[in-house]
Point group: C4
Chain length 497, copies 4
Amino acid sequence: MAKVFDAAEVAKHNTPESCWVILYGKVYDVTDFLSSHPGGSKIILKLSGKDATEEYDPIHPPGTLEELKPEACLGIVDPATLPKDEAPAKPQEPAAGPPPMQNLLNLDEIEEVATKQVSQKAWAYYYSASDDKFSKRFNNEVYRSILLRPRVFVDCTKCDLDTSVLGHKLGMPIYVSPAAMARLGHPSGEAGIAEACRSFGAMQVISNNASMTPEQIVKDAAPDQVFGWQLYVQVDRKKSEAMLARINKLKAIKFIVLTLDAPVPGKREEDERNSLVGATAPVSSGVKAADRSADGTPDVSGPGGSGGVGQQLFAGTDPSLTWQETLPWLAKHTDLPIILKGLQTHEDAYLASLHAPQVKGIILSNHGGRALDTAPPAVHTLLEIRKYCPEVFDKLEVHVDGGIRRGTDVVKALCLGAKAVGLGRPALWGLAAGGPDGVRRTLQILADETKTCMRLLGVETVDALGPQHINTRMVEQQIYDGPSALDSLRRAFRAKL
Amino acid sequence: MAKVFDAAEVAKHNTPESCWVILYGKVYDVTDFLSSHPGGSKIILKLSGKDATEEYDPIHPPGTLEELKPEACLGIVDPATLPKDEAPAKPQEPAAGPPPMQNLLNLDEIEEVATKQVSQKAWAYYYSASDDKFSKRFNNEVYRSILLRPRVFVDCTKCDLDTSVLGHKLGMPIYVSPAAMARLGHPSGEAGIAEACRSFGAMQVISNNASMTPEQIVKDAAPDQVFGWQLYVQVDRKKSEAMLARINKLKAIKFIVLTLDAPVPGKREEDERNSLVGATAPVSSGVKAADRSADGTPDVSGPGGSGGVGQQLFAGTDPSLTWQETLPWLAKHTDLPIILKGLQTHEDAYLASLHAPQVKGIILSNHGGRALDTAPPAVHTLLEIRKYCPEVFDKLEVHVDGGIRRGTDVVKALCLGAKAVGLGRPALWGLAAGGPDGVRRTLQILADETKTCMRLLGVETVDALGPQHINTRMVEQQIYDGPSALDSLRRAFRAKL
Amino acid sequence: MAKVFDAAEVAKHNTPESCWVILYGKVYDVTDFLSSHPGGSKIILKLSGKDATEEYDPIHPPGTLEELKPEACLGIVDPATLPKDEAPAKPQEPAAGPPPMQNLLNLDEIEEVATKQVSQKAWAYYYSASDDKFSKRFNNEVYRSILLRPRVFVDCTKCDLDTSVLGHKLGMPIYVSPAAMARLGHPSGEAGIAEACRSFGAMQVISNNASMTPEQIVKDAAPDQVFGWQLYVQVDRKKSEAMLARINKLKAIKFIVLTLDAPVPGKREEDERNSLVGATAPVSSGVKAADRSADGTPDVSGPGGSGGVGQQLFAGTDPSLTWQETLPWLAKHTDLPIILKGLQTHEDAYLASLHAPQVKGIILSNHGGRALDTAPPAVHTLLEIRKYCPEVFDKLEVHVDGGIRRGTDVVKALCLGAKAVGLGRPALWGLAAGGPDGVRRTLQILADETKTCMRLLGVETVDALGPQHINTRMVEQQIYDGPSALDSLRRAFRAKL
Amino acid sequence: MAKVFDAAEVAKHNTPESCWVILYGKVYDVTDFLSSHPGGSKIILKLSGKDATEEYDPIHPPGTLEELKPEACLGIVDPATLPKDEAPAKPQEPAAGPPPMQNLLNLDEIEEVATKQVSQKAWAYYYSASDDKFSKRFNNEVYRSILLRPRVFVDCTKCDLDTSVLGHKLGMPIYVSPAAMARLGHPSGEAGIAEACRSFGAMQVISNNASMTPEQIVKDAAPDQVFGWQLYVQVDRKKSEAMLARINKLKAIKFIVLTLDAPVPGKREEDERNSLVGATAPVSSGVKAADRSADGTPDVSGPGGSGGVGQQLFAGTDPSLTWQETLPWLAKHTDLPIILKGLQTHEDAYLASLHAPQVKGIILSNHGGRALDTAPPAVHTLLEIRKYCPEVFDKLEVHVDGGIRRGTDVVKALCLGAKAVGLGRPALWGLAAGGPDGVRRTLQILADETKTCMRLLGVETVDALGPQHINTRMVEQQIYDGPSALDSLRRAFRAKL
């Protein structure tokens, strides 16, 4: 019979020496686990001695608790002894709830509704981008500076969004990029996104940091539904290898997306700022934190809070990946095709093309402006590749994400050579606004806008879109014009073979 | 003797199975007509069982009811049984009405006055443009980035706006573009615009979707007054052929304007949003609407409302027009000269020139930014033609519309080779602000500004304006610079001869 | 003995048939004068039967009344019978008055103070520019896009603003451009500006529409003070010839500035709008005014008000000036050197240089943005001349005005080849803010800023400034790049000799 | 025994003929000193007869009073007779104080907190820049228009900010530029900044106008801490020579920074405006001040106030420095390496390189936008040097300052060839926000951001950063493109040897 604890007893164990937490009504001793918590010990200590379920639940996939040793579960807490949560007591505003999804006309309206629906924490995590959010804004604005070239007297009765990725048929060239922590926005989480994608034959790339397990997410997939799985390689390679073994077994998952643009986390200030609110841990002395560390340079240290959701999620990520080491390691642990995500220069796109056929595709992305501020938008990289090494498009599938808000944006990316276009935040905002229906509405709007745009250009199929349909003159004046190292890259690569 | 119905009786017939409406005091059974209503059945069902006159009147030309079978008219309604309209009961603000038109100094002020005068529905239809209204704004702003080059010591005592279009003399190079639904703004409708044009010898192109019949509009025309008639080819070609037969009989109409830039409607969100207000029909489930349709892609579907005036007007428009099929068909049904409207690339302008002499002119237009957002303004297309195939100006008359707000805008378009310049929204705003006097004021202001500009440039006649009078350096840096397919277009065209 | 009238008696004469006005206590019958009033009869009729002194005084130079026939003065009005002016009765805010001029740090602050000091009418006339005021703003902003190139390790102990214009020594390269109606802003009027210029050895160009006579303005001039006189040639050439005869006698006036950029008035909407306020004349029917006039084009007609101060001042100006006719006519009536004002293209600058030595200089100006909106700023014309025909700088003195607000602006214009730089509105704002002291403060600020700028560039004298001190790269990308007609201009000119 | 004065007695001596002030409880007769006060006599007279300690203290280094003759100290004031300061009497807001420094996430937040902490006078002095602050803003914005080029698949486990300046090892390539008057912001003053720099191995350049003596500032320096000392050469060279002699003795000071970009003060309006507040001295007549001075040009004269802190600090600065005279003079008085500060053209950078090895480095700077408005940012000058004379980077160390607000800004400057990057205002804002901890937080944030940026670029050490990591295409379109005088500069230099 499980031992029953008073909440007051649990509350005494709130130190690094003895740290208990209550989760789903059970009492856990996590003292030994503190040092290996991927998000750091500080965040646990803040909740030590208390019921941490509400904070724990939306950001940990089910099964996470099983990673603890069985003896860590000490028993159950007597619910009657828990402090009353006074917040629900106060009569809330008559829960207006979101408007009918069908009445939302564009992605900005959906974001607006979602902003009102979600917690401050979720908003901060979803909305944030690095530093001054220049790249986040520029990702979108750069599409505005490309003009379309509609042709007339073309029969546009038919218009078809069908396409394929790595040979798999898709209902539209728009997919959901790996975006973490969907349950922060809506309880249906990443499975809710999968449900919406199923309605459209749309592809979904599952985040390494999803708030549900891959198995849960793909459980109700349609037979022909296409998923990718995003990998952040962990310093502890065994963990990544275990995950790959699980992924290899899921037939719905057709490829691995190896994310490369965030070997260390960007500085997302909304997210970090939010972590300061209600921070109860004593703020460590600025003087001490700034003292020179042993190697002569200061340690990287975040603000007084926990560093935000983004910082926590990065814990354990391996910053040492290289072309030479990582791709062979990956080949040993999966036969799935590899797509590299986060390329931002023509040099790296070219290098990736040298690694075909193991590498089958690349996603041009600056991580939604969340990694390095003033990094170039995917449109720039597309134009750079067209300028310096257009042969990349023949050897690899090229995808893009970041900044897509309109069907015209989708079309412009496709005209420049992208095979498909990913949505990050819009999928999360859709989910937060209305659950699976909200994601459906998001995809529906973009699909409708994309088809309208194609029809007005006089184009019937996705494959027929090309650079002749757009005027990129203004953007071309911003594209990198310096020396290119392609020749030396090629020589260096061959020398290694 | 006509049968008399109680309103309560009529109210019972509000289903797709039995759908009655009251129009101008008469009761109609439109059940059979529901499926063939160009604007869709939903909009009728919303009004079923009620007096629909107020909604019906401003957007249907007289004579529309005659298209119903005679037996559809069941009788008359007893006016005493109609529900009282409570809105007029409330004492209104002392109806200030618009200020004297002469006191309005520019087109922005006229729009401001009109905005206060018209219904929300009319405002939304007139004001709206596609997506983010980028093209609508850019249409105007691009004129601001062209500088004028005034010459001095030129006798500018005389200045003359006289010009001609297709050989017909005109009092000014400014005309009214086809703009639908004028009676939404003012009861005098398109005939009111015609009255104003008569005062200036200005040309008017009658919209295919005018709220009055062409016969009504040209009824009081001056002997030398010039009209064109805009054609949206209908899927049911018989309807278009019947209309052309009517037009061929109207001597005031000198040419056909075939609109090509909107084979499918653009996404005009103000207009669609307005249709949501007061939408009483139950909003259909977003989930259901988004389910994959048979061909594997989702159906295009609007928001919960009726889709806006713009969407309704497009019902029945044929999206399958081509150079090969449509022009010969048109030649069979009219001998009137053809002007093609909505060209936005030099390629299409060049193709049009190959179809002279059947095609006598082209109108460079992005539909006032109402079709495809981020489509280029007419100024871009003018510069593109000058760059790639200036011979087009010798073979065709080139007109432009979109974004004209000042006389300097008119002059700049003429300097770049436009023969005449069309006004869309400004004519509607003028009408809405003050009826025919408001349109006169609009034309007067533009004519005055145009003459002042020509005098200060040192130019006496419209024909003398040329590129030497403007500095387009800033805009030229935005013009399409990609490969041109003119050679292959020429070869393909000749192969077909 | 003068006849004494009751105001009530005068009030009856308020028609075109019998039109009396009271001016400075005297009663005038101006019925016969109505048709020849330069500002049109409407403005007089509005004041007919009333005391018009307040409106008349600030815009008519003393001596204007003498142009009436002596018998037009009927007598005096009995002051006791005049209606009481109620406005002064209400206790005003304690008249704060302007702050000490020395506390104003820049020209924007002076304009701000002036705006509070002057009447709405004066503000509207001074502030207004044509159409959307694009050129007015651009005149200033273009200076912001030129960067300075300060040199170091240069002895800048000495710095000297001395320069000369047409061989006359000046204390600074900053002068007051012809700006009309100074007494609207301050009772000291143009003589107050002259007093301020005397303090600095600064030059002043007297407006043709000055609110004081040239004789009054130069009365207290220092022996070495330099004036120019601006000429608007009148349709009635005798009037201009009479004025030239008067000017020829004034030794302080060293040259004639012939204004060419405003043969017809620009559209200054603030000024016109102001004329609508309190317009009591019935607004003429828009319909009637818009009816086609005899020559097939509508008449230019202003709004319901009087058309604004600007429109009135232009009455009588000759729009027929030409190189061939006007310069020889001018040579017959004055031996003074000629400076042509308002050139905006390199072609006209070049043509002017062919007319040396009669023409000794040119002023590049777009009339402060008051003539043609989107006309180029003087900086553009300077760069155009440098690009196409730099030899102009050797043959003529080149001045500029428009948009100067900082000493750095002055320096940039001088670096590009301007010999001197004119101020229009800033002189009027200075006068309005603080009378002669306000103008002095304006000149002082600019002189100080100019010297600071020169010192920091490492330049000791005005003559040493050159293009090497500025970076115009950004502006050069805006300069006219089209074909130049210089060769044909040269040939045409020689053919006429 | 010191004589004791009543405050009332002191108050009588408030004229130029007898001017006493109270400082730190002692009474001084400064009548004889009035004319030689570097800040002018006016500022002293305003405080004459009163206790001036509060105004005197933060802007004078200790020891300044010793420059007075001993007999100037007349005695002490009876504290009981001093007027009560009523300000402290009013109950203040509960002194919230600044938030914990660790909670401030970026430099803008630190400036915001500092703005609330400091006096209006300090804010105005720190914040102000010349004229319209165009250069101040542009200094920062120009970094936003440079894009980064992150490379992927690079091991970024290690990242090291270590670098060196003139052979001295530093913990980071970010240093504190000479910034005057630190005690205005925080009592720890420049020594507080030194304390913070010590924590990071960061370099500090001590301002010539520091509010503490160099000896005090370096007193607690770490053995390997690096300082430079900024020199404004005084008209009275003996003073500068005496200071150099003192500096030569301080081992912590490794080089002299000779400031060249401000031979005369810029026009800093916030600072000047602040000096008007509470100005009690009668405002001198604008008329009189503006009268022409003897040499024919007006005297430079400030506003009615004291001219601001900036103006006062410049008193005595020698504006006559030249390459020929000043460098040899300097060589006679110090053996320390020379860094020239304030170069803004490639010509001057090139000239500096000809003066190696006496000149060892240059700092590209426009004085934080405080000298000449519209002067180019350091980024422009870096690109100019790269374009015209890249060999400069081989001969001299090149530093920059101005506009740095983010680690990405630091990285971009380093990529363009800067060896180190200086902070001016941010160090002062940091000090004002939180004393030494605030400066530490400022340096910590920038160091963290810089390392994050380097890691995401795939760069391990400062030396490895290069132009291949950035896209400067947009900025390059702004760089000076005119003729360069390098050849003639070289010949002229050689001729002198």
